[in-house]
Symmetry: C2
Subunit: 332 residues, 2 copies
């Protein structure tokens, strides 16, 4: 019989096809070509983006010129704008505010042909440093409550440019999904006086069925109630609630395990579209005992339709135990 599995943090149910699971070859990966006459993220086209906020440059090269290895720029088509006041107000029973926020793009490499999985260790580390540096800087803006870092890879995952990049959005309110996660973890802590993610790490290690890979600082596994086939979470093995206070040696190990997981997915699923999101606590809530920052990687292999939209149920045709096996056995 198929299974219904419950996410212990937010209470979401997933229908897991345990009887007739889908193999990687059962998913149709759409590889759509990105038509880009002139890529704004390549060397020599720095003037096609807004002026850079920061860049990592080895030699003495000028801002907004070639010579960088990572480059952070404001999004040319921002979802939210940095200038202005929040001006929260009501219209009858409704609430609104000004569309204030920061929307930045982290260009991960000058090489148009490489994605994050292909970078050398020290190149991938610079991407993590860029995430961290921008987080630390934007925390200083009192208008912001949350900093969300995410990546859309591939057309069906919402990427509009093929050149490898991630994004950061600073928000003037703690988003609903983050609030739910903080609340769920808080409830568990209240009951157990332990971090739910730390407990999850302990059980995943003990069960040893869903582990994908680990290093001295991080662990990657396919979560028990995965919404999506090949969903993978990466957690620091030690308890830390806030990504922006990541330490230097953790940056090194995070870059390694992230590349490791992405390479495995690329090999097993033939370069699938995916989103990843860094889940971290809200700006004002440094050092929470009950929350544990982590990365959720979600390959986009299936369509989300009315049932999922209406219910919050998901249908996952590949059990996480099988996903872990495929990814562990990947030849990378």
């Amino acid at each position: 019989m198929d299974q219904l599995r419950k996410d212990p943090i937010v209470g979401r149910w997933t229908i897991v096809f345990s009887d007739k699971p889908f193999a990687p070859s059962d998913f149709k990966i759409e590889h759509l070509s990105h038509k880009e006459a002139t890529c704004p993220f390549c060397y020599g086209h720095e003037n096609l983006t807004p002026p850079e906020i920061q860049a990592h440059r080895e030699g003495a090269t000028l801002p907004n010129s070639p010579g960088w290895s990572t480059r952070v720029v404001p999004n040319k088509f921002p979802a939210l704008r940095i200038e202005g006041e929040l001006d929260r107000r009501g219209i009858g029973m409704f609430d609104l505010s000004g569309g204030i926020g920061a929307h930045e793009v982290i260009i991960e490499t000058p090489d148009h042909s490489k994605d994050l999985a292909d970078l050398l260790d020290h190149e991938a580390e610079k991407v993590i440093w860029a995430y961290r540096d921008r987080s630390v800087d934007l925390r200083g803006d009192k208008r912001f409550r949350y900093i969300m870092i995410f990546k859309n890879h591939g057309f069906s995952a919402g990427a509009s440019l093929a050149h490898s990049h991630s994004q950061l959005i600073a928000l003037p309110m703690v988003p609903k999904n983050v609030h739910e996660e903080l609340q769920g973890a808080g409830l568990y802590f209240e009951y157990k006086e332990r971090c739910i993610f730390c407990d999850m790490i302990a059980q995943e290690k003990a069960d040893n069925e869903r582990l994908i890979c680990e290093n001295s600082r991080f662990l990657a596994f396919a979560p028990f109630a995965s919404r999506f086939p090949f969903e993978t979470w990466i957690l620091p093995q030690e308890h830390h609630s806030d990504f922006s206070f990541i330490r230097s040696d953790d940056v090194t190990e995070l870059a390694r395990i992230l590349k490791d997981v992405l390479k495995r997915m690329k090999q097993v699923l033939n370069d699938p579209p995916y989103n990843f999101i860094i889940h971290t606590s809200a700006i004002e809530q440094r050092d929470r005992e009950d929350y544990h920052w982590h990365i959720e990687i979600m390959p986009k292999l299936m369509k989300i339709a009315g049932f999922e939209w209406g219910s919050g149920f998901y249908v996952n045709p590949t059990p996480p135990e099988l996903v872990a096996k495929y990814l562990r056995e990947a030849k990378i």
Copy 2:
């Protein structure tokens, strides 16, 4: 400046592009052809579906043979199965149960070339009756807590067959999204002692900016904090919490307004893919003062990417006031 708008029921924020809104022609509608050598929902192919659960037949025709106008069959590839026991249990910190439920398909017409918007009034009414009859029947199964009725129209909205149909899934637990909605509406009722949806109807009528159409029994509007461009809600004007107790004259008027809205969308957006979902209260909670059943129609015009997945924020480039104007002015 763009706006941030908050859904008053579940607290979800949407970024609304009020400065440079998208017009209908700014959305790229993907019209993919469905290759169906033999459509299992057409007359003469009744043996290609599991045996029918019910059908509306004018003359004296046999079950599972032509002559029907609507036909309900079990889904051939069900997300959940009707046979078996729930068997809820724990594995360490995790929770699971058997994948028990009902998954049915409502074939709306024998005519392969027509969709719900094209049906005659009395044909569309039979579809609503089929929704209602199956709801009433499945409520009797003590294993179920919620009945979700939804429609996926068009390939990018998740439809796997082109022949017009809707689906019903009976679930052994109240889904997360429904629970949130019931909770949000409950909180408002606790504070105001009024139904939040009744208040919304009153404000929409007073503001008169987001109304699309109405009849004696139902109202359609573009909600203030629409997640998606051209999102439209249909609500009974009178307070009713449970769709499955819909009365005969309401069925007639619901069929009319649903067709009306779908026709307007079809005309303005050139047959967009969409999902609609009937939001109704949980089986055990008949006659809630604080909840109001309704239909949410969500055209699928944009990709949902990492930001939306991670945050629960949405980015809507067409303000609902403009959507209502486009849809009101549609020539149908």
